[in-house]
Amino acid sequence: MAMGRNSRRIMGLTGHYAGLIAFAIFTAFPLWWAASVGLSTNPENMYSFPRSFWPTEPGLLWFAKVFTDMPFLTYLKNSTIMAVMTVVGVVIVSVLAGYPLARLKFVGSKTIFVIIILTMMLPSEVAMIPNFITMKHLHLINEYLGATVINFSAAFGIFLMKQAFEMVPQDLIDAARVDGATEMQILWRIMVPVSAPSIAALGIFTLVNAWNDYLWPSIILTSREKLPLAVGVFNDLTGPFATSDSMVMAAIVMTVIPVLVFFAFTQRYFVSGMDGAVK
């Protein structure tokens, strides 16, 4: 009988792993292919299928060229600055908007929330012309702030933080209130730390979006030395003056790596922040 149970368990686990591995291959495959092409110093097999799935004469030639043939580090710096600005901006706005919507009673709070959610239904392209004119009047054309500020007030982030704050037990807030905390202290010293997993999720989600943002930065940033990776790589390596597709692949891989590293380091913040609070 014990054997029976064991083999059933093993079969179950095998099923789980097979499913997960299949999914991992499915999502990671394009990146793998790009890496394989980028690592091939000899590009002759680039378009042969499936030979291009593993490198031909592996080497870092194209990766080195990414650094020499284009201002990769400048783009990387710009992307980093803009991504960090966006993450900070989104988190602050979402926290400050989510808290009253979740916790304070005031007339019209439901209506305001619905209006905020409705903005998610609009494609962001609709706002581009008004945003551009606004940025022009604020003298934010060709500024990092101009390229990011329009994303600070994200309906999704406000929604996420509202949900997270609603999960915090009322007793915890009452305890802090009895302990003498002001509304702001309750927010920053209790609500925010307790909601860390949601904030981490919001941060990573925002970071990836900001990192990959292409259209708006390409419109509002006019000088080459302010371009982020997504725009810079595309501008420099594609189009009529494109040099090599191998280099495009190498650049793409290099563009993705910082996000992966960030992900690896922030993963641990996803554990629940509420353990031990109540009961």
Partner: protein
């Protein structure tokens, strides 16, 4: 330390629903007062109003000599322990206890002194560095109490602090809370729906039902002289036996009531304000019912179920013609009592109570 005075306190969450319907209460300095009542009767609401976590719709709340209605929760000199403990999960035990003092801007040495002292009282010194999630339920409750102690409040408020603990731990903590009160001599207001906690902890018990105070008094006084049917049925385990009856006669200092089938019972109460023939309720506690011995007259009854608890025997008996099953608490040596036995019951007249048609108790005469 301070007294707490409630004058005509009312609370409505919505316009048409009043949860607390006018409470007048004087809690003396240093007193341990327990609020009991069934679920939903408004105990927590009243406590939260005293704490300043809920607006007072109407009435006056005085803490000490000062009107506290509009004073912020943190300025009322109260500390509250929640049923859910409500520990800050991201802070260590030490920081949980120090939080209020830090917010108040106390200096480090003072904070440390107070936290260490509270930790000593509660024997949690070895836990100070831990996070709440690494504590057991009992330890968490101690931390929650410690967080209240460090504030050196004038009034402690407890909202069912022990109800999430298992039975033996609850007993331990109950004893410790009693000791804590003896040591600190601070006014304490304690909410529970557990009548054992109420009986053992309280200097005075306040029994609530549906937002109205039913009776206020010391545990024994309330146990022996419940003011009405609700209190009579609420305190005591098993509950007081309550039987529908008819008042047939009022003698000097004695009421005679008749149960169905012509059984009469005498009770030493003054029922002169009621008229003979009116409907009343006879109340006898399970431990006061005796079994008749040879020669005694008694009410014939049949045993329905027997529970041997070791120290006592609980018998559930049925009187022919009476709908309710009566609980009888007998000494442990009635070991051969069994289901189906015929017994004769004696209701001693000095311990029987009678309640009038409206449910109010007649005064005892002895």
């Amino acid at each position: 330390m301070a007294s707490v005075t409630l004058k005509g306190i009312k609370k409505s969450y919505t316009k048409d629903v009043t949860v607390i319907k006018g409470v007048d209460l004087q809690i003396k300095d240093g007193e341990f007062v327990v609020f009991v009542g069934p679920s939903g009767c408004g105990k927590s609401t009243l406590l939260r109003m005293i704490a300043g976590l809920e607006d007072i719709t109407e009435g006056e709340l005085m803490i000490g000599d000062a009107l506290a209605n509009d004073v912020h929760a943190s300025k009322r000199g109260i500390a509250m322990v929640f049923q859910s403990y409500a520990l800050y999960p991201h802070m260590s035990v030490y920081d949980n206890m120090a939080f209020s003092l830090k917010l108040a801007g106390a200096d480090k040495a003072e904070i440390d002194k107070r936290v260490q002292r509270a930790a000593e009282i509660l024997q949690i010194t070895h836990l100070l560095e831990r996070k709440p999630k690494a504590l057991s339920g009992g330890q968490r409750q101690r931390v929650a109490i410690g967080r209240a102690i460090v504030r050196e409040p004038q009034v402690f408020l407890f909202d069912e602090p022990l109800s999430n603990l298992d039975a033996s731990l609850r007993l331990n903590m109950r004893v410790e809370l009693s000791k804590l009160h003896a040591d600190l001599k601070t006014t304490m207001i304690y909410v529970t729906h557990d009548q054992v906690e109420a009986m053992t902890l309280a200097d005075r018990i306040v029994v609530f039902n549906a937002g109205v105070v039913q009776q206020v008094g010391s545990p024994l006084e309330m146990y022996e002289n419940p003011a009405n049917l609700f209190v009579a049925g609420f305190l005591g385990s098993p509950k007081m036996n309550l039987l529908e009856a008819q008042l047939v006669g009022v003698e000097n200092g004695l009421a005679v009531v008749r149960l169905p089938k012509g059984i009469t019972v005498r009770a030493a109460v003054d029922a002169s304000r009621a008229t003979a023939g009116s409907k009343v309720t006879l109340g006898v506690r399970p431990e006061h019912i005796q079994l008749a011995t040879e020669g005694d007259v008694g009410i014939p009854a049949r045993v329905d179920l027997v529970e041997h608890l070791g120290d006592i025997v609980l018998a559930y008996v049925e009187i022919p013609g009476v709908n309710d099953i009566l609980a009888v608490k007998l000494p442990g040596h009635y070991t051969n009592l069994k289901r189906g036995d015929a017994v004769r019951l004696v209701f001693p007249e000095t311990s029987a109570l009678v309640f009038d048609e409206a449910g109010l108790a007649f005064k005892r005469t002895v």
